[in-house]
Symmetry: C2
C-alpha cells in the first residue's frame, strides 16, 4: 500500500515553522510497513492544493493531508478534498455539539461565527473526534483511494493519529508488522551504530533503524510476518541481543515511555522521593518530572537557585566553596545535591550547575556542566562538556541529569 | 521569481530525520521576497527524482535540490539534474584538489574510491566550494531555468547557502521585500483575524499573515517595493494600525524577541526582580525565564512547591486556606505569590496552581488554573480554564503566567 503526505500551509512555505508532522507521520507509516515515495507541501491555495491532491491520488493509495482545517477563510483542505473526490459538505450535528462544548469550557466564551465552518463534513466520510481542538479529522474513501485529513497543530494531530488513524491503517495492511522500541541514553548515534554494525548490515527481517534524539538514541526493530506470533518470534532474539550489548543504557523498551516516565517508575518502585536543585537548567528538570502524571508521589518540591545567595540560603552551599571553586564546580554541585536532601525529607537530590552561555565565565568554557546526585548517604558528581547553543546545552543537561538519577537508582537499589 | 524546493533522501521518507533544511531555506527565500509554492521530498530513486525535477522546472524559475550529493551509489541528484537539463559531467580539477586537501586534514587518510565521483561536475555549471565537506554545491542555468544543488547535512548546507547562494539569488531579485513581525498574547488566532478582517481582506501590499503559537499569535506584515525606503513606508501605517488595535496585547515587534525576553527586558528596564512559585507548571516558568541570557539580573531563585507541605514551608500558605479552599484556588494562588515575595528579596512573584490532569480533583475540572501576581504591595489573581492534555495545559499556563507578569509591570510602572 502506497501512502503520500501532503502538508498544507503557507506558513510552511514561508519557513515560519519546521514541519515536524511529516517526520512523525513518516515514521508511523514506516512502522506500519507502508511505502512512502512522496511528501509534498503546498500553501493555502485552492488550485495548487487541488492539483497536488489529484497527482497524489493518481500515484498513491492513501493520501494523508495535514493542516488547513482551521476556522478561517484560508483553510481550504476539507473543501478542496470534497470537490476533487466528489463529496458534498453538510453540517454534522455531533461535531457541532463538540464545538459548542469546547467553547463552553474555554476562556473565550463567544464562539466566533467562522468556527461553525468546522462542523461541516463531507457526507459519507468518517469523522474522527479531536479531543484537543475544534477541527475533527476525516477519512474519505472513494474508488479504492483514501484521503485522510488531519489538523495541523501537532498536539491535535498526534493523539488523533495514534488513537484513530493508526489502527485504521493497520487493519488495511495484509502483512503483520510488529516493532519493538529500544531507548538508549549515554551513547551517541554513531557509537550505537558502531556497536550494532554487524546486525544492521546483515538483518533484513527484522530491520533496525536508529533515531537520534537530544542526548538519546532510539532504536526501532521491525519485523514482517504472516501472523503476530511469527513477527514476535522474529523480533525476540534481535531485541535480546541489543539489550545485552547496551545493558543499563537501555532505559525503556516501551514505545510511549519517556525518560522522565522511566525515572518516576523506578522512584515509585523503590518508594523513593527526589528533590531538584537547579542552577543553569532553571527548573527544567523539575518541569520534566512533573510531566509525568502522578509525579507528586515521588517529587514534592524543588529549588531553583540561580544566584550564589540562593545556593547558600536554600541548599547551604558554603561561602568558602563558592569562593574557592566557583558556582560552576564539582564541589558546588555536590554541596547543592547534599543540601537539597538535608533541606527536605527527600531520599535523593539531583543538582545541576553549569555554563549555558552565550558567555564563558573566566577560564570555564561554555558547555561545562556539573551534575551531582545524592542518594543513600553518598554524593556522586559527573562533569560534562556539551556542544551547541544555550538552549541545546540546557536540554542536554536535563537529559543527562535525569539519566544520572536513573542510573543511581539502579546501582543503589537494583 | 518562483522558487521550489526538492529534498532528496529516503531517510526523510522513512521519518528517520526531521527535515529542518526545508524550513531554513524557505525562511531565507521568503526573506529574499521569492515566491514559493511547492516543497517536495522524494527518495534516492532515479525515476521519481527525475519526474519531480521536470515538474518543478516546468512551474518554477529556480529549483533548489538538497541531498543526494554524497559519494555512494545511492546519491543521484547531480547525475539526474545533468540528464534532465542536458549537461555533460566532467571532472573538475579544482574540486578534485579540494577533496584531496579535505582528506589530508581528516582522520581518515585514505580517500575511498567513490569519493572521486564528487569531483565530477556538470560542464558549464557554477561550482560552489563547500568548506565543511567534500560535495560542492552547484548552480546549473539553462533556458531561463536554474537548478541549485546543495549537500544535505545542515552544517554544510547552511554556510554554503548563506555565503554563496543567498547573494546570488539577491542579485537576481528586482524588488525589495521588507517585513515586520508583531507578536500578540491574550487573543486566539480567530479573534485576531476578526479584529483585522478588514485589513487582511483589503491589503495586497503589504500583506498580513497570522501564525498561531501556544497561547500567542504572531503577525507578519510584508511589503514589496522598488527600494528599501518605499517598502518601509508601506509597512509603517499598517503596523501602526495593528498596534493601535491590540494595544498592550502586543508584547514585541522584534523578530527574534520571545515572550520571556520581553518580560526580562521590562524587568530590567524598571530594575525589578521576580521570583516564581510553581505548582502544576513545576519549574517551567523559571525555565523559560532562564532561557534569556543575563536573566540572573532579574531572577535569582524560584520555588517548585508541588506538595501542600512545600507550599506551607516555603511560601507560608496557611493550613486554613489549603483546608478551606484547596490547593487549586484563588486564595492559595494569592498566598503563594505573596509568600514568594516575602520569602525572598524579589520585587514581584508569579505563582501558579492548577489541575493539569489527567484526573480532575473532586469538583474542580482538569484545566482549571489560577495564576497570581504579587507586585507593589498588591496581589492579583486570574482564573483560567485551559483545554487539552496535561502538556498543553501546562504550556498555556506558562505563557499566560509570563504574560500576566508582563501586563502587571506595564500597569504598575509604565
Amino acid at each position: 500500500m502506497i501512502v503520500e503526505l501532503i502538508s498544507v500551509g503557507t506558513e510552511i512555505l514561508l519557513g515560519n515553522i519546521v514541519n515536524t508532522n511529516t517526520q512523525y507521520l513518516a515514521e508511523k507509516c514506516a512502522l506500519l510497513g507502508l511505502s512512502m515515495y512522496h511528501q509534498v507541501t503546498v500553501g493555502d491555495n485552492r488550485e495548487r492544493l487541488s492539483a497536488a491532491l489529484e497527482t497524489a491520488l493518481s500515484r498513491s493509495d492513501v493520501v494523508i493531508l495535514t493542516g488547513g482545517l482551521g476556522p478561517t477563510e484560508d483553510d481550504l483542505t476539507k473543501e478542496v478534498c470534497a470537490e476533487v473526490m466528489g463529496f458534498e459538505l453538510a453540517e454534522d450535528a455531533h461535531t457541532r455539539e463538540r464545538i459548542e462544548k469546547y467553547f463552553k469550557n474555554s476562556i473565550y466564551k463567544d464562539i466566533p461565527d467562522n468556527n461553525w465552518k468546522q462542523a461541516m463534513v463531507p457526507q459519507g466520510s468518517t469523522v474522527l473526534d479531536n479531543s484537543n481542538g475544534t477541527a475533527p479529522g476525516l477519512i474519505m474513501e472513494k474508488n479504492g483511494k483514501t484521503a485522510i485529513l488531519l489538523p495541523g497543530p501537532p498536539n491535535e494531530l498526534k493523539p488523533l493519529f495514534t488513537e484513530q488513524v493508526f489502527p485504521y491503517l493497520q487493519n488495511r495492511q495484509p502483512e503483520v508488522i510488529r516493532s519493538q522500541m529500544i531507548k538508549i541514553c549515554g551513547y551517541g548515534e554513531s557509537q550505537v551504530e558502531d556497536k550494532l554494525i554487524d546486525l544492521i548490515n546483515t538483518q533484513t527481517n527484522p530491520t533496525i533503524a536508529t533515531y537520534a534524539k537530544t542526548a538519546e538514541v532510539h532504536l526501532r526493530v521491525t519485523a514482517k510476518a504472516d501472523n503476530e506470533e511469527a513477527a514476535k518470534n522474529l523480533l525476540k532474539p534481535v531485541v535480546k541481543e541489543i539489550k545485552n550489548r547496551f545493558e543499563n543504557a537501555v532505559y525503556t523498551t516501551k514505545e510511549e515511555e519517556t525518560l522522565e516516565m522511566a525515572v518516576v517508575r523506578l522512584l515509585k518502585k523503590y518508594e523513593l522521593t527526589v528533590t531538584t536543585a537547579e542552577s543553569c537548567t532553571g527548573g527544567l528538570i523539575a518541569g520534566r518530572l512533573v510531566n509525568v502524571p502522578g509525579a507528586s508521589e515521588v517529587f514534592r518540591e524543588g529549588f531553583i537557585t540561580y544566584s550564589n545567595k540562593a545556593k547558600r540560603k536554600y541548599l547551604d552551599v558554603s561561602k568558602g566553596t563558592l569562593k574557592k571553586y566557583g558556582a560552576v564546580s564539582e564541589q558546588t554541585a555536590k554541596e547543592m545535591a547534599t543540601g537539597g536532601v538535608f533541606a527536605t525529607d527527600a531520599d535523593a537530590c539531583i543538582a545541576v550547575t553549569g555554563i549555558a552561555g552565550p558567555d564563558a565565565e573566566g577560564e570555564k568554557p561554555v558547555g561545562l556542566v556539573y551534575i551531582a546526585c545524592y542518594m543513600k548517604d553518598k554524593v556522586k558528581v559527573e562533569e560534562y562538556h556539551f556542544k551547541g547553543n544555550r538552549e541545546k546545552i540546557r536540554e542536554q543537561s536535563v537529559v543527562k541529569a535525569l539519566d544520572f538519577l536513573r542510573r543511581s537508582i539502579l546501582s543503589n537499589y537494583h
